[in-house]
């Protein structure tokens, strides 16, 4: 199978360094303290944040900082064939831990001792790059919930097929057998929060792919920033008019 054709276009017509179309919506769930939907092409992820709230398990309460828990799951209808995954799906547990560890570094947990922050992420449509879409959606949901955070976060993945580094792989490209590296960055501080890969790759390829993924993160960061500012914008209008009336 040819993943990059002779003209340099991928299966879906993108160039190797093009990210898929990004879409996001905030405050999508009325019952959650914070929520957001994030789409990367056909991959669609919903994140809901509950907290900071009292820890459900008294024994697990940390008196110095907040506990961050994450539950990642894929809806039965998210992939091509309807498949019900059990609660003890190993990949889901691994991704849950990855998301929790990534975002915990970014949350100012020492400001909220004895509390618990629960992040629930569900994949509604799976077309590759779910891990990164999950982190982006969870970040927006945390911002929606007003959880204090050190910096903005953006995540993106890149792979290597047909001798070319490709940004933001979709499901078909993901199944191509090439390596994939997922990167999550703190946008202002330029720190890496997560760098994950499950494949073997040479140093040169690794550097090229990580560089491409980081560029992808920067593009995602710009989009997330615009989304957050638009979400805040309405509040700004109401507040400024209230001030002028006073």
């Amino acid at each position: 199978m040819e993943y990059v054709n002779t003209v340099g276009l991928r299966l879906d017509g993108r160039r190797p360094n093009e990210i898929r179309q990004l879409r996001a919506e905030m405050s999508t769930l009325a019952s959650a303290d914070g929520s957001a939907t994030f789409e990367m092409g056909n991959t669609k992820v919903l994140a809901a944040v509950y907290g900071p709230r009292e820890a459900s398990n008294r024994a697990q309460t940390d008196t110095s900082k907040a506990t961050v828990r994450c539950e990642y799951s894929m809806a039965a209808f998210s992939s091509g064939e309807r498949r019900r995954r059990g609660k003890s799906d190993r990949r889901a547990t691994e991704t849950s831990l990855a998301i929790a560890n990534t975002l915990e570094q970014n949350i100012l947990t020492e400001l909220l001792p004895r509390t618990q922050i629960d992040i629930y992420v569900q994949v509604l449509q799976a077309d590759g790059g779910m891990r990164c879409a999950a982190i982006n959606a969870a970040f927006l949901a945390l911002a929606d919930a007003g959880v204090p955070m050190r910096d903005s976060v953006a995540a993106c993945a890149a792979g290597y097929l047909d001798g070319t580094a490709l940004l933001d792989l979709n499901y078909t490209e993901d199944g191509g057998g090439g390596p994939e590296v997922a990167v999550a960055l703190q946008t202002g501080l330029h720190q890496v929060l997560m760098l994950q890969t499950d494949s073997k790759l040479s140093m040169e390829v690794f550097e090229e792919v990580v560089e491409l993924a980081s560029n992808g993160c920067r593009a995602v960061a710009e989009f997330l920033r615009t989304t957050l500012l638009a979400h805040v914008g309405r509040l700004s209008l109401a507040t400024s008019i209230a001030k002028s009336e006073a």
Partner: protein
């Protein structure tokens, strides 16, 4: 208004995202830091997504549309049936509530009978508590009683279920409208009700 001219920081009213720098610390003098702002080296950065505002005592804070309430000292809150004040709110302890004001008088605190209770975001509760013009406009034609908690809970009582539903609905809708729009919505509701 005040005696000393306090310089308005240029960042007021700016929409910020987590990690965005708001201001840099001046060489001398003190800067008051409020909720949603943290010090990082020589600059102040936002840690929440919201609008930069100036709070009591010239402090800088970020106002956001939060649903979850974090207790603050001297906030008036509405619990399940009680209007009370947060007396102690240390970071590491459970908050202590009281039904008396600082002088020891009742001052409107205490159990609330009848009426209806609903929830709004903490920022809208703050707007309602500051006495927006649409409530005054409503009060000229309707009799009602309103208790607003900083924790986002609002209690309303009015004679007659129709009036009660009307006041509750208008108070909730005002979150989406600006001040002039809210007053217009009130006028429209009253006009259609009298028909």
């Amino acid at each position: 208004m005040g005696v000393a001219a306090v310089e308005q920081p240029p960042c007021l009213g700016k929409c910020v995202v987590p990690g965005e720098p708001i201001a840099s610390l001046p060489e001398t003098g003190t800067v008051r830091v409020g909720g949603g702002v943290q010090q990082a080296g020589r600059s102040l950065i936002a840690v929440k997504a919201g609008v930069v505002q100036q709070g009591p005592g010239d402090s800088l804070w970020v106002c956001n549309r939060q649903k979850r309430y974090i207790p603050n000292l001297n906030d008036a809150v509405v619990g399940d049936v009680v209007f009370c004040r947060v007396e102690e709110a240390a970071r590491d302890l459970d908050p202590v509530l009281t039904c008396m004001d600082t002088a020891g008088k009742a001052a409107g605190f205490g159990p609330l009978k009848g009426g209806t209770l609903f929830q709004v975001s903490t920022s809208h509760a703050r707007t309602l508590a500051s006495g927006p013009p649409f409530l005054a406009a409503l009060g000229r034609s309707l009799k009602f009683e309103l208790a607003v908690g900083a924790n986002g809970r609002v209690w309303v009582d009015a004679p007659g279920p129709a009036n009660l539903a009307l006041v509750a609905r208008l108070a909730r809708q005002a979150e989406e409208l600006d001040a002039a729009g809210a007053v217009a919505a009130v006028k429209e509701a009253l006009a259609s009700g009298l028909r």
